[in-house]
Symmetry: C2
Subunit: 145 residues, 2 copies
DNA sequence: CTGCAATATATTGTGTACAATATAATTGTA
DNA sequence: TACAATTATATTGTACACAATATATTGCAG
């Protein structure tokens, strides 16, 4: 029962469960992020801000693997919420610097429980070994090119 | 150098590489799908159609792990391209039946090379073991709830 | 020092995603 | 048998995601 079209079956794809699992995990974050009035994309952007405090828009794009068409409105949104500020670089007028605000730092305190809540609610209930393997394999895919 | 905010670092997330790898793989499909004038979502929908030939809209949603808000316009699009047809169920007037057309079957012939091209172009260059582990782990995430 | 390539960012257009809501048909039930 | 609950699908609203294009600034080659 093996024919040349088997390769086009959904169950034989690796890309498909990757795509579904990604959306599924983001969906499972939603209840926790809703409490902070953050979307998933805004959440990962804030993770970068919490760690870096201040960086160029291009650097933020690179950290998030997102292009300016996505990041530009994202920055507008986070600025309107008061979590970040924008300023122009003195040396190069083209460059925008994104900087976290005090309000953004306060948000960090509210967010710090999310990762443990995700684990406790069994949102991604993997063995230590599977989690480590998944992490390694995913980064090996991302870094290929 | 271990503090309570480490859990909020992007590099310590499992969700983030999952989200990035998913988008990355879809991006790598793009050159191949562009030749057929298909988006990734349209491609996986056609995979279901090639296999099932005919099914209810609800079933298509379930196969793809997508809701009607996504699938409704997707069906309109594939219908406008002539790959599928729509009809109402006789027994239950609410139910729409999606059926593949001859043109849709022809498209299958053009698509059948895509999976091997993806492998040959090293778009997801994993060892057999890593690929199998990834597949298993991803489905274990999807099926949790 | 001038024009042109490169860089940084923003905008536009198309296509998802999904929650929430709406609507119509069907089913179960008092 | 009316009618409430359920089911199937569509629509609306918000937020990505990215390719393509536009614009402004900078750097560099001649």
């Amino acid at each position: 029962m093996n024919d040349k079209y088997d390769c086009l079956k959904l169950e034989n794809q690796l890309c498909f469960p990757l795509y579904v699992a990604s959306k599924e995990i983001i969906r499972r974050y939603k209840p926790f992020l809703d409490k902070l009035d953050l979307t998933y994309t805004q959440y990962i952007a804030m993770m970068v801000m919490w760690e870096k405090k201040s960086l160029k828009v291009t650097e933020l794009c690179k950290c998030l693997f997102l292009d300016t068409g996505t990041v530009s409105p994202l920055i507008r949104k986070l600025k309107s919420k008061g979590y970040i500020e924008l300023s122009r670089s003195k040396e190069d007028e083209r460059i925008q610097i994104v900087t976290i605000t005090d309000k953004g730092e306060v948000l960090k305190e509210e967010a710090v429980d999310i990762p443990s809540k995700m684990i406790n609610s069994k949102c991604m209930n993997l063995s230590k070994e599977d989690a480590e393997n998944l992490y390694r394999i995913l980064y090996s895919i991302i870094q290929q090119d």
